[in-house]
Symmetry: C2
Subunit: 333 residues, 2 copies
């Protein structure tokens, strides 16, 4: 009806109604104006049934109020929007039961594809293997090497190695390592990078210096303080962003000066790390790019349906940004 | 088929498949296990067409990598999940054309309801008035009083008044006000609260001290620096979070010490504001609660379809958190 009235091809009208980038803004305005006048309303569900496509992708991920995941989802959304797709979000709040529940809910054909970053406690992948038989899927950042699904990650091993080396070269012989995500490949690689750097510089690996921080904030805070008091480390390497805040709080409570008494390096995507007192030295993951790469891979999968798993896993590089929290003197900012 | 096999009511199976909180975890597991075995896949689109419901709500909002909106969406998602609803996200990146485009895309029956926080440049509301005829809608935070749609906001006028009073009482006779969101009610109320506090304390209102910060980061930075140099204010009140970072950077570049040379207060939801150097005094909006309230109102609307607009607009209270950036001496932390 719209096509005839406007003397346009049906496919053009259809694309205009979907706000496709293939249609000129001027044409879209014409189509929308007439659609409005005629109270025309294409039904997403009827269209979805016809095409067996929902034009929707979903993201299952651990945490919303987290600078890494906000940036990654921003990247995902940008790619999806370019393709005319809608984005559903499913934050698990680090709860594996929630992750499993979301996975089974998404078997209903609601989405054409899925991106997932594992929750802290996920150790069994049946729900993903089941879902992946129906819905194409990409794992990002919090991945497991135990599943044959395309992955986008960063160079976690190398990053932790470089950070540890930096602390050692700045005089830290005893480094507290705050371990997190121990069931994910990211967590394992970070710890291994740290351990290998210690060995490289002939420092002994001491299990007491590895603090298990896959707990509640309160428990983590207690263990970090206890680790500082009982081990008197000269440095801390925090393997996730939110632990850095606890380190600063703990040092303050214990009257330890950063960096003079304790030097701190953390994985973090906080844009305001340079404003901290002292500015925080960070391993900064390319979060936005990870989201973009994951979405691009997913759309390749949706288009071609076949990609060689081994060739196509992507590993992006994090940046190591030296600031005052790990400096010998206060020359860094 | 599933119901008969498991000797359960059809409605129970249907609820279990939708992961409803009304069904016990044990029953859900039974249903899912059998559904898996039988490769059963209810189709979301067929179900949506039957019920004329999508069980999906959407959020249109300005920015993803922003601590206020991350927290607000977290609140929205929590309420939606409790109701068995899915959440679509549409970040506008402060672009009104993008907002209009999203609004028209959502006329296709894809969502049962919508929450929207206006983009910076939105001055005409036709797209929302059109969409609201088909889709129930709530405005949150960045609202306009020119549209008759239910709203959830904070006490912006009062917050700006209190912050200004605090700066005056700490010796600031000349305060630079960083204006933003000038087309939204939030922006207007914040500025008015500031102006009225100046009058209350017999300080003259000087237009040169109001800096228009609805520009690019680069332009805002230039104008803030220029404002500091030419007006030599003793205080700054920043009406949005991201401008606070620019203030700290500008003071550093100009060798101005915070709080001795310039005192700073900002609207902000950054969880790490207490770690800044010096710790940032903030007006902190209850972002998570705003999201929850907006979603609750939307579901009331979806359930009852009639709420009295005037009675039901919600105004939540922000917290004023004094820290070192606005202190006379360094006693605040």
């Amino acid at each position: 009806m719209l096509a005839k009235e406007l003397n346009l091809a049906i496919s053009t009208v259809s694309k205009a109604l979907r706000d496709s980038h293939e249609v000129k803004a001027e044409t879209k305005t014409k189509v929308w104006d007439l659609a409005k006048k005629l109270n025309y309303q294409p039904n997403a569900f009827a269209a979805g049934l016809r095409a067996q496509k929902s034009k929707t992708i979903a993201v299952i991920f651990p945490e919303l109020a987290n600078s890494f995941f906000s940036l990654a989802i921003k990247g995902i959304e940008e790619v999806a929007r370019g393709k005319g797709y809608h984005v559903l979000i499913y934050p698990t709040h680090e709860c594996k039961e929630q992750e499993i529940s979301f996975a089974y809910r998404l078997m209903d054909g609601r989405v054409d594809g899925l991106m997932i970053s594992l929750s802290r406690g996920t150790t069994n992948y049946d729900h993903l293997i089941d879902l992946n038989q129906k819905v194409p899927m990409i794992l990002f950042d919090r991945i497991s090497d135990d599943i044959d699904i395309l992955k986008v990650t960063t160079n976690d091993y190398e990053s932790a190695f470089i950070a540890t080396q930096h602390l050692i070269e700045n005089g830290c012989n005893k480094i507290l390592y705050l371990e997190a995500l121990k069931f994910t490949s990211a967590g394992k690689f970070r710890l291994q990078g740290h351990i290998d750097a210690l060995e490289e510089f002939n420092l002994s690996y001491n299990k007491q210096l590895i603090i298990d921080c896959d707990q509640s904030d309160q428990e983590n805070y207690y263990h970090i303080k206890h680790g500082l008091v009982s081990n008197k480390p000269q440095g801390i390497l925090s393997s996730i962003e939110k632990l850095a805040t606890l380190c600063y709080n703990a040092c303050k409570e214990l009257n330890l000066t950063i960096p003079n008494d304790v030097k701190i390096v953390s994985f973090s995507n906080l844009e305001t790390a340079h404003l901290w007192s002292p500015p925080l030295t960070t391993i900064t993951q390319p979060a936005f790019e990870i989201g973009k790469e994951a979405a691009k891979l997913l759309f390749q999968l949706l288009d071609k349906k076949q990609i060689d798993l081994k060739d196509e896993n992507k590993i992006l590089k994090s940046a190591f940004i030296k600031r005052g929290s790990s400096a010998v003197c206060e020359t860094f900012t």
